[in-house]
């Protein structure tokens, strides 16, 4: 069950990797952006997103008729790796590119695809993901936000929480209850709606992150009208649609590289010191990264070949092991290079250390906690 395909990148793929890398390095030099740890969640920069959109690097695997480039999954993988390895601010368009696009391509109406996808691809339209609710935690089936049918649409009432970057997003794909809760079948009666975040009745309240930064929000819906044409897929099918969305998005480079900037800086400083013993410790981290990357690329390759059946378990494993790896980097690095973590430090090592430490606890919580993933993996392998 674990024999994933191996990938040796082609010359074209390598050339593309270098193209992306050169572009990004140039923009770092120009000062277009300042690299940061965990930039796929905290690096919100709409003007950078538009720049990326112009390059054709958002929705690049989508059909050309919807603004895509019809490039391969592996090209997108390479692109994402380069973004994260350099710490580029890709958070604004992240979820629209990674989740909403594929969701609409799979379940959306022609009208939805034509309306949303080209805007997303241009880097001008951002989506938030509306899953969690107060006290729902890992128990996503306990969704209480409800939509009631009215003439021509739905009236939504309720509340979503921990919504990353909702304050800069235009829309949210929200999981809502369209039939009353059934204790025996908690997953029935859920649907996905696209909610305009600027519509009447929507209130977005920031939640301050522990560092004082601002990434996530509470979003309140008070009699928000959502027209029928904003229903994604089938009414009542929201759980399956949402689950598929989650499972395929667990294994990307963002589960391995969130703190890569710090690892890079660690190796740079150790090399400057010619600190052989420190580098030996670091080489273990490189071996771990190499092992995870093989697995993650193998999953991408499987997805590209259309084999989605064997993907769920290795994808969950990438997330479970990868996020712990990301967390381990600051803990190991601080013992190898003297540091005093400070968000405003001039020294990169101290700054990346501060960013890594403060963001790290999120890694094993967001997008499915490690505990939930362990259960999913175990159930999966036992059932085989």
């Amino acid at each position: 069950m674990f024999h994933l395909p191996t990938v040796q990148f082609t010359e074209e793929q390598e050339a593309f990797r270098l193209e992306v890398r050169n572009f990004l390095q140039e923009h770092v030099k120009k000062g277009t952006f300042t690299p940061t740890v965990d930039s796929w969640l905290s690096g919100v920069d709409p003007s950078f997103s538009k720049l990326i959109g112009e390059k054709g690097w958002i929705g690049m695997t989508w059909p050309k008729q919807y603004g895509g480039q019809e490039r391969s999954t592996l090209d997108r993988y390479i692109l994402t790796e380069e973004f994260l390895a350099i710490g580029a601010p890709v958070a604004a368009h992240w979820f629209a590119d990674r989740q909403t696009g594929p969701l609409l391509l799979r379940y959306g109406t022609e009208e939805q695809k034509q309306f949303f996808l080209p805007k997303i691809a241009k880097g001008e339209c951002y989506f938030a993901i509306g899953l969690s609710e107060p006290n729902s935690g890992s128990d996503l089936a306990s969704v209480r936000t409800r939509a009631e049918k009215v003439e021509g649409g739905w009236i939504v009432n309720g509340q979503k929480i921990w919504t990353s970057n909702a304050h800069v997003c235009h829309y949210m794909v929200a999981l809502v209850r369209t039939s009353p809760f059934d204790g025996k079948n908690k997953h029935a009666g859920l649907s996905q709606l696209i909610i305009d975040l600027h519509a009447e009745g929507v209130t977005i309240v920031p939640i301050k992150f522990l560092s004082g930064e601002y990434h996530f929000n509470e979003v309140f819906f008070d009699n928000v009208f959502v027209p029928d044409n904003m229903v994604v897929g089938k009414i009542g099918n929201g759980w399956e649609q949402g689950l598929a969305e989650l499972a395929f998005e667990r294994s990307g480079p963002e589960r391995i590289l969130s703190t890569f900037l710090l690892l890079d800086e660690l190796v740079r400083e150790l090399k400057q010191q010619r600190n052989k013993e420190g580098l030996k410790q670091a080489s273990k981290l490189l071996a771990r990264l190499w092992g995870l990357r093989n697995l993650s690329i193998g999953v991408a390759k499987l997805l590209e070949s259309g084999n989605t059946e064997d993907v769920a378990i290795p994808a969950s494993l990438v997330k479970a092991i990868g996020t712990k790896f990301e967390q381990s980097i600051p803990e190991i690095a601080r013992l190898l290079i003297e540091t005093y973590p400070n968000l405003e430090a001039n020294r990169k090592f101290d700054r990346y250390m501060a960013q890594s430490i403060l963001h790290a606890p999120s890694f094993t919580i967001r997008g499915g906690t490690t505990e939930i993933l362990y259960g999913m993996v175990a159930k999966g392998v036992v059932a085989k």
Binding site: S132, N135, G137, S138, D139, I161, W162, I207, K208, F209, L210, S211, G212, Q327, E331, R334, L335, E338, T339, Y340, P341, N342, L343, E344, A354, I357, L358, P361, S362, T364, I365, R366, T369, T370, E371, Y374
Partner: protein, 347 residues
């Protein structure tokens, strides 16, 4: 341990509990600090603990002081109590007069004392912007000196650690110290180790608090229809928190006992190395149990985890003390078990 210990500790804990709410801890992030509890501590003589009676002290000992410092860590009290008391410890131990009011200290390299004047820059000086005095180590032709500086004479560049505590750069340009005294290398090393004991005290306090907060949360929070402490994977986190907390507290208590017995350098080395390990496990398990809510500013957990992540890199840390142990082992032909049981050379 002095006889007054239980009483002092009780009084200090009551004052801290009643006066240091989450809002008070948050003061730091608005550029202010807990002047109220500082005043209460002054009134009740908390600053004269462990200062000798000759110098006007109340006659407690270092163990009493370390236990109060532990409590200021447990309540994340945003005031320079550990700094001021340790500054006075440095003054007393170099036979200089102690000071009243807010004092801070630095044992980092960076200052040079020449012709009676001090110049240099010290990074990350705790609470410098609020301090009246700085006690620091300065290099001089006579060796290392402990110097007392009036902060009016210093230039300050404000900065802060990831717990929002003031950690300022202090720049001195030909400043005349209020007093100074040469100390031996051994005295300096002793000062470093007592500084480490102060950090161990602070970290132990924060660890205790994180444990309490997290266990409490695991009882209240429900998921899938049950309080989360009933899930085995949460129980594993709780057990790990309990284990690391027990080891940290016991390490701290053993450091205190060792200080009383005057033979404490290896205990401090072991305790510091071990408690830094504990910080990794404790912060990670506590945040994992709390999940998203623990990442918010509103919830108090981060006031303790952010402090641990800052404090563990202050003073002399795990790599320094590892080196100390290794140097000892390489210099002395000791049996390992005799070393661990403190029976080296005994027959």
């Amino acid at each position: 341990m002095s006889e007054m210990k239980d009483m002092i500790i009780d009084v200090a804990e009551r004052m801290l509990k009643e006066n240091v709410s989450k809002d008070v801890v948050d003061l730091l992030e608005r550029g202010d600090w807990a002047r109220g509890i500082w005043a209460l501590f002054e009134e009740s003589g908390m600053f004269s603990v462990a200062i000798s009676e000759v110098n006007g002290g109340a006659g407690g000992d270092l163990e009493d002081l370390l236990n109060i410092v532990r409590l200021t860590g447990k309540y994340a009290a945003p005031m320079p109590y550990a700094e001021s008391t340790f500054a006075n410890f440095l003054l007393e131990n170099s036979k200089q007069s102690v000071v009243d009011g807010i004092a801070t200290y630095s044992l980092k390299k960076g200052l040079i004392l020449q012709d009676g004047e001090i110049s240099g820059t010290l990074p990350n000086v705790r609470w410098a912007r609020f301090s009246k005095y700085l006690v620091a180590a300065a290099d001089s032709f006579q060796g290392t000196q402990i110097v007392l500086i009036d902060m009016k004479d210093a230039t300050i560049e404000q900065s802060s650690n990831i717990a929002s505590e003031p950690r300022d750069a202090v720049i001195l340009d030909k400043v005349k110290p209020l007093s100074s005294a040469v100390i031996t290398d051994e005295q300096f090393f002793n000062a470093l180790s007592i500084e480490t004991a102060f950090k161990i005290a602070l970290m132990t306090g924060a660890i205790e608090r994180i444990f309490d907060i997290t266990v409490e949360y695991s009882k209240k929070r429900e998921q899938f229809g049950r309080p989360i402490h009933r899930f085995q994977l949460v129980q594993e986190h709780i057990a790990q928190l309990a284990g690391e907390t027990a080891i940290a507290v016991s390490a701290f208590n053993n450091v205190c006992a060792a200080i009383q017995s005057k033979d404490f350098l290896h205990e401090i080395a072991f305790a510091r190395i071990r408690i830094e390990d504990a910080v990794t496990t404790i912060t990670s398990s506590a945040h994992q149990i709390h999940a998203a809510i623990g990442m918010t500013h509103e919830y108090p957990l981060h006031q303790y985890t952010r402090r641990l992540w800052s404090w563990r890199d202050e003073g002399r840390n795990s790599p320094f003390w590892s080196e100390y142990i290794v140097d000892y082992l390489l210099k002395h032909d000791v049996d390992l078990w005799a070393y661990l049981t403190k029976t080296v050379g005994k027959k």
